[in-house]
Symmetry: C2
Subunit: 350 residues, 2 copies
C-alpha cells in the first residue's frame, strides 16, 4: 500500500515528537514493505510567524491531497495572555478540523500494566480500564458565533448543534460499542442545556437501531467524577466538543502520563492523527518530551487504513520500551533517555 501522509509538526515539542513517529513509520515501511510518502507543512504559531496565518493555503491543500495527516502540537503562550491578538495558533487546528470535516475525535483511555504506579489514582481503581471517548469535533461552542461588543465589555459564544451533526458521530460510536463491550454512555447537561436535550433525543432514537448496545446517560459534572471514581464502568463515551475536550484530558491521568495518549480525528474523506497533549513549550528543544503519544498516533493511522499487523508491531515496540524502562523522564524520574533515544528504541523494535 502507498499512503500519502502530510506531516504538520506545529509548535513547541510538536516537531520533536513527530520526528519519532516518522522514524517508526519508516521502520514499518522496511519491515512490512509498505510505502509512505511524507510531505511537511506549516501550522500554528510557527505558521503565523512565517506566513502570517496559522493555516496557510498550501498547508490545507497538502492535507486535502493526502491520505492522512500526522499532526504534532499547537499553541504558544505568547498568544494566550493577549486577549486582543487577532490571530491565534489554535485557529489553525480548529480550521483544519472544520475544512477537512473531521467530525469525530476518538481517544482511547487505557491503564498500562507497567505504569500503574505512575497514575495519581490507586491501582485497584484503574487496573483494567479500557474505554474510548468519541468527541464531536467540528460543532458546538468552539465553532459557534463569537461576539464582543464595541466597548469590549460583553462577550459571547454560541453552542449550536444540529441533528445531522449529532447523528453521524452517534452512529460511529454505537458501531464502536457494538465491537467492544456493548455499552455507550452519552455525557451531556440535559438538565440545563437545550443543545444537550437535542443530543439526548437524537442519540436515544439512534440507539434503537443498535439494540445490542446498552445506552446510558451521565450529566457532565457527574461524569467528571465517575471517570475518577470508577473508570472501569465505561466502554464508549460519546459527547459534544467541549465536554469531550475536558473529560478526555481528565481521563489522561488514568494512563499515568498524558504523553501516552493518541487520538484519531475522522471525517468522511479525511483523517488526522495527533497526540492529545499540547505543545508543552517549556520542554521545547530539550529532548525530554515523551514521543509515545505521537508514535501511537501513527499506529492509529495504520489501523485506520487496515494495516492492523503494522499497527500492532508499533504498539508491541511501545510496550517493550515501557517494560524495559526506555522512557522519558515524565515516566521515570531521572531517566537518562531522551525523546530521540526512545524513538530510536521503538523504531528499532518494529
Amino acid at each position: 500500500m502507498t499512503l500519502k501522509i502530510a506531516l504538520l509538526p506545529g509548535d513547541g515539542v510538536g516537531p520533536e515528537v513527530l520526528a519519532q513517529a516518522v522514524k517508526c513509520l519508516e521502520a514499518v515501511e522496511e519491515t512490512f514493505n509498505q510505502r509512505f510518502i511524507f510531505k511537511e507543512a506549516l501550522v500554528g504559531a510557527i505558521a503565523i510567524d512565517k506566513k502570517g496565518t496559522p493555516l496557510p493555503d498550501t498547508t490545507l491543500k497538502l492535507c486535502k491531497e493526502s491520505d492522512a495527516v500526522l499532526f504534532g502540537a499547537i499553541g504558544d503562550p505568547k498568544y494566550d495572555n493577549d486577549p486582543d491578538a487577532k490571530v491565534r495558533p489554535e485557529q489553525g487546528l480548529l480550521q483544519l478540523r472544520k475544512e477537512l470535516g473531521l467530525f469525530a475525535n476518538i481517544r482511547p483511555v487505557l491503564s498500562h500494566p507497567t505504569l500503574l504506579d505512575k497514575s495519581p489514582l490507586k491501582k485497584k481503581v484503574i487496573n483494567g480500564t479500557d474505554f474510548v471517548i468519541y468527541r464531536e469535533l467540528t460543532g458546538g461552542i468552539y465553532f459557534g458565533e463569537k461576539k464582543l461588543n464595541e466597548e469590549g465589555t460583553k462577550a459571547s459564544d454560541l453552542c449550536e448543534y444540529s441533528e445531522a451533526e449529532i447523528s453521524r458521530i452517534a452512529h460511529l460510536a454505537f458501531k464502536a460499542a457494538k465491537g467492544r463491550k456493548k455499552k455507550l454512555t452519552l455525557v451531556d447537561k440535559a438538565n440545563v442545556l437545550e443543545s444537550s436535550r437535542l443530543w439526548r433525543k437524537v442519540v436515544t432514537r439512534i440507539g434503537e437501531s443498535y439494540p445490542e448496545v446498552a445506552l446510558n446517560f451521565l450529566f457532565v459534572d457527574n461524569a467528571a467524577m465517575q471517570i475518577i471514581l470508577n473508570p472501569r464502568q465505561f466502554d464508549v463515551i460519546l459527547t459534544e466538543n467541549m465536554f469531550g475536550d475536558i473529560i478526555s484530558d481528565e481521563g489522561s491521568v488514568i494512563g499515568g502520563s498524558i504523553g501516552l495518549l493518541a487520538s484519531a480525528s475522522i471525517g468522511e474523506e479525511n483523517a488526522l492523527f495527533e497526540p492529545i497533549h499540547g505543545s508543552y513549550p517549556q520542554a521545547k528543544g530539550n529532548d525530554i518530551a515523551n514521543p509515545i503519544a505521537s508514535i501511537l498516533s501513527a499506529a492509529m493511522l495504520l489501523e485506520h487504513f487496515g494495516l492492523i499487523e503494522e499497527a500492532w508491531a508499533i504498539k508491541k515496540a511501545v510496550d517493550k520500551s515501557l517494560k524495559k524502562g526506555i522512557v522519558t523522564p515524565d515516566l521515570k524520574e531521572n531517566s537518562q533517555y531522551g525523546t530521540n533515544q526512545v524513538g530510536d528504541f521503538i523504531a528499532h523494535n518494529i
Copy 2:
C-alpha cells in the same frame, strides 16, 4: 442573634439530609443561645407535582424575606430523559439563584485526614489539599438564550458574560486568596472562546489591585487534569458557571465522598447554602444518604453571619463522627449508621 432561615428540602434525599442540618442548628441554638426561625417551602420536582412549578411564588417570597436559605437537593430522573418536558425541577434552583442574585458559588475542597483511604487518589497526592472554588453562578451558558427550531432538529445555548458579572466575583475571589495562600488560578478556555478572553482580560486588570496575590491561568482541559495530578498546587480557583460545575464535582473525589462537600452561594443581599451533591433518588427514604454535606452547609451559613465559634462547634462534631466512624455506608462499607443516627451523633456533640 436571630436569623430567619428558609428551609427548602427539595427532592430525593434532600429532606432527609436537611433535617439533620436543622438538628445541628437547633443544637447550636441551645448551646450558644442563638435563635433561628425556620420556615419550610417547596422547590423542585415536588413543587412541580404539588404546584405545577419548580419555584412557586410563595417559596421565592419566603426566601427573599429570610436571612438565608438552607437548601436540600433537586432533580428527579423522570424529567431527565424527557427532552420535551416543559418544566424541569432544575429550573427551580436556577431561577432561585438568579432571583436572589446569588452570583458566587463557593466550594471548599479539602482532604480529610481520617478519610485519605476513601479517595480513589493516592494518599501522597491528596494529603494536605486545601483549595476553594469560586464558581460564577448566575451567568454564562446556563442562563443564555436557548433555542430549538420548529422542526426540533437544531438547538443552541448562548454563553454570555459581561465585565460587571466577571468583576464582582473576581473581587470576592481575590479577597479570599488574600486571606489564604495568596494564589488565584483563573480557569478558562481563552484559546478558543471569546467569553473566556473577556474573563482573562477583566481578571488580569482586577488582579493589579491585589498585588500580593499571584495570578495564573489554566485552560479548563488542563485544569481537569491538574486537579487530579496535583491538587495541592491550588489555593483559590476562579471560573465561570459551567466550568465550575464540572471541576467542582470532579474535585469532590479528593475528599473521599461527594457526601461531604458543602457550598455557599452568595449575593449582595441573599445567601443560600447547599450540599454539592444531587438528589440521589435511588437512596431516597432509605436512611443511607450522608448528611455531612448538608450539616457543613449549615456551618457555612453560620460563618457567613460571623458565628465563627458556632460553625467551629459543628465542624468539630463532624470531625468526631468521622474519627469515630459514626458515618453512613458511603464512607464505611457495611456501616450500621443511618442518616438519622449520624445526624443525631453530630448534633449531640455540639
